[in-house]
């Protein structure tokens, strides 16, 4: 295993973490599509920054992209406020127009430099180790590592510093405003972070993977927990996991690294969607099945209680009578009786069913509930 592999994996882990941090808040604030909008709309900012510096890895590019990202947010907000176009349409319009402007600028002025749309959208992680940071003649490792590392630290620092403010602004923006915490400023800072992360990551992984890493792991984590701090932690773990497994999948399949990572994000979500502890489809299915039996057992004991010590009890308390009275199919009725017997709620006396004390107890409780 060469340094090449290590470096790519290290960069992808850093990118994953840097994306998952602000991504968690995007998902919680129902603004996941802003990651899509911003990661496309930074294109003109990057292009202008590139014209100014002639260097694809200059910090000015990150700044230009961040400005373009904030411009997107501000434009969407402005259009929404005019009340002429709804917010979703405004988002779609602004980012696609900015992206189109970026493409036009590239086509007009930069046709022959290393800055094409493929690179922005798709990125190429395999090239990351070739672009190295040299300082005083010493090789300090791939440049992308530093760019994304710094932005990642910035995100982490911002979230640590303003954790409770962000939490408040996310879950109760009105309360946040009344307490004087300026949710608007927090909103724009968060959007600035999203833009900076998107720009820092675009060269390495491309816009699409940025969206996948910002939305996917937090959405998966959202299925697993109710707690913000845990959600952030799970998001980071899931993002890193997707990055590493995606890298090896790409290595084995000889396919696009970014594509494989995005696919792994999807696989993670699909798995958790099915088996997550409280939210998963499987658990929900089991819960429904359990509830169905539990409800049927309650019906049975209530039925028996109603007819206990009455003249018609001989008629009503037979297993084959349940079919008529509770409209249960024969196999289902037998299943209910078997479960109730095994839980010692009823006992069978000859052909009749009789409540045990605990069964009577359950029936009384259930009646109170009703």
């Amino acid at each position: 295993m060469s340094a090449f592999h290590w470096e790519i994996q290290l960069v992808s882990m850093v990118v994953a973490t840097a994306c998952a941090l602000p991504g968690t808040f995007l998902v919680l604030r129902k603004m996941a599509m802003m990651s899509d909008a911003i990661s496309h709309a930074i294109l003109p900012g990057i292009v202008i920054g590139f014209f100014l510096t002639e260097n694809l890895s200059s910090p000015l590019l990150i700044l230009g992209g961040a400005v373009a990202g904030l411009l997107t947010v501000a434009l969407v907000e402005w259009i929404r406020k005019t009340d002429r176009v709804r917010e979703d349409a405004a988002i779609g319009l602004v980012f696609s127009t900015l992206f189109a402007l970026g493409v036009l600028m590239i086509a007009q002025f930069a046709n022959d430099v290393h800055l094409d749309i493929d690179a922005v959208l798709l990125g190429e992680l395999a090239f990351v180790p070739f672009d190295r940071l040299m300082l005083f003649g010493r090789d300090l490792g791939p440049q992308a590592l530093y760019a994304t590392g710094i932005v990642g630290l910035l995100c982490a620092g911002f979230i640590l510093l303003f954790y409770k403010e962000l939490k408040l602004a996310t879950f109760d923006s009105a309360l946040c405003a009344t307490l004087g915490f300026l949710p608007g400023v927090l909103h724009y800072s968060l959007m600035g972070l999203v833009s900076m992360t998107a720009v820092a990551a675009f060269d390495a992984v491309g816009s699409i993977l940025v969206i996948a890493l910002m939305v996917g792991p937090p959405a998966s984590a959202y299925l697993m927990t109710h707690q913000l701090s845990k959600m952030i932690l799970y998001s980071i773990i899931l993002a890193i996991l997707a990055a590493i497994s995606g890298y090896w999948a790409a290595y084995l399949l000889d396919a696009s690294i970014a594509g494989c990572m995005a696919t792994m994000v999807g696989v993670e979500f699909a798995v958790l969607f099915c088996v997550a502890p409280h939210q998963g489809l499987l658990v929900a299915w089991k819960r429904r099945r359990h509830q169905r039996w539990a409800f049927a057992i309650k019906m049975l004991v209530i039925h028996l209680l109603q007819h206990e010590d009455t003249p018609e009890s001989e008629q009503e308390c037979r297993v084959d009578h349940l079919q008529d009275h509770l409209a249960w199919e024969q196999p289902f009725a037998e299943g209910v009786v078997a479960r109730a017997l095994s839980r010692k709620l009823i006992r069978s006396v000859g052909e009749y069913l009789e409540l045990t004390p605990s069964g009577r107890n359950l029936a009384h409780q259930a009646m109170v509930h009703v």
Partner: protein, 371 residues
């Protein structure tokens, strides 16, 4: 230029294709914008990519109809997944969209790289679907677009009032025992179809503008649904035509982006300058209204001041009025304006008085304003 347009095969094909695409997406965008599905369109166009790859892998053909079918199925599947995720988990709509969009696109990338590295023949040009390559359109593609797009339009016409009801009041539609869910599926399917026929011309990212912008612009010009659809179609068609001609006559202007920039330009213009809803007109109306109210206030003040005296036409010096408006620099202008309308007059001492017409106007105003 028209000669050039008719003479040049590529230009003719591209322009025709863009015009048809603009018209069809213009019509569909009305529904998209009114039903707030703008971002779904973006997700669908990204989600279509793996379908294109798979269709090519399975059939080995690059015929646009086959690729369209693949893209359509994938886009439709993406939409269904978004619905499944939002219905059966607590993940919200926006996250589901972002997830489906990026993951499907990722899968598509994997397939495309797989195809590129395989030794399948005839694979070049598949990635034109990513960013759109209008110049690669041939007459056959345009024909496919026309037939598929035409079918979509026919379906819309057939179910016109049902779709209209769906867009405005789905609950009412349900109460009429219309199959709302199927209408919804049908309308979304049409959206997928239109996106798919546009991918080759403008590409994945820019297609989302094509299904938002025309209707967003048209909405500003009218409050009538049929009118809005018509305007939207015309805007889409004109921008498609204009954009492709612009791109052909200028060097280094790719067709897709220039069409998108044109349409967005129309949106901005409409938001600013459309009658009734335009922001500029609103501003002007507001200014005129303010001016009228200020003038009326001065008139009524003169009337109030004169009440202290025996006649309502009793004159007052400008300085007296200035006491009421210490800050206003425009008092003299208001008075002169009123004078030119014959409502006040200036006597030989320079004092201002109401004319008989002014008194009548004052009575009218007071009557109008007392509820």
């Amino acid at each position: 230029m028209i000669e050039q347009l008719l003479g040049d095969y590529t230009l003719r094909t591209v322009t025709l294709g863009a015009a048809i695409l603009g018209a069809v997406s213009g019509v569909l965008s009305t529904f998209v914008v009114l039903r707030q599905q703008s971002l779904l369109g973006d997700a669908v166009s990204h989600a279509a990519l793996p379908g294109i790859g798979l269709a090519f892998l399975i059939t080995g053909s690059k015929a646009s109809l086959i690729l369209m079918i693949g893209a359509g199925i994938a886009g439709w599947l993406g939409t269904a997944l978004v619905l499944l995720i939002t219905h059966s988990s607590r993940v919200k709509y926006d996250s589901a969209l972002g997830l489906v969009l990026s993951v499907f696109f990722g899968i598509g990338l994997v397939l495309l790289t797989f195809i590129q590295k395989s030794s399948l023949p005839n694979q070049a040009g598949l990635d034109s679907f990513l960013f759109g390559q209008a110049a690669s359109l041939v007459m056959e593609d345009v024909l496919t677009m026309t037939v598929v797009g035409g079918l979509a339009l026919v379906v819309i016409l057939l179910f016109w009032k049902e779709f209209k009801l769906l867009a405005f009041d789905p609950d009412f539609a349900r109460s009429l025992v219309l199959p709302v869910r199927w209408l919804d599926v049908g309308c979304t399917t049409l959206l997928v179809v239109v996106i798919v026929i546009g991918l080759q011309t403008v590409g994945v990212v820019l297609m989302s503008a094509m299904i938002i912008a025309p209707a967003a612009a048209a909405r500003q010009w009218t409050d009538h649904f049929g009118m809005m659809t018509l305007i939207s179609m015309i805007i889409g068609m004109l921008c498609g035509t204009g954009g492709s001609i612009l791109s052909a006559t200028t060097s280094n202007l790719p067709t897709g982006p220039i069409i998108v920039v044109c349409t967005s330009g129309v949106v901005v213009m409409s938001i600013l300058a459309a009658p009734h809803r335009g922001i500029l007109w609103n501003k002007i109306r507001q200014i005129l209204q303010n001016r009228r109210l200020r003038a009326e206030a001065v008139l009524l003040d003169l009337f109030d001041l004169a009440k202290q005296h025996e006649t309502p036409e009793y004159p007052h010096m400008e300085e007296v009025l200035r006491v009421i408006y210490p800050q206003s620099g425009s008092l003299l202008r208001q008075l002169q304006g009123l004078q030119s309308k014959g409502l006040v007059m200036r006597n030989e001492h320079g004092a201002w008085a109401l004319t008989p017409d002014g008194v009548i106007r004052c009575h009218q105003l007071i009557k109008e304003r007392t509820p």
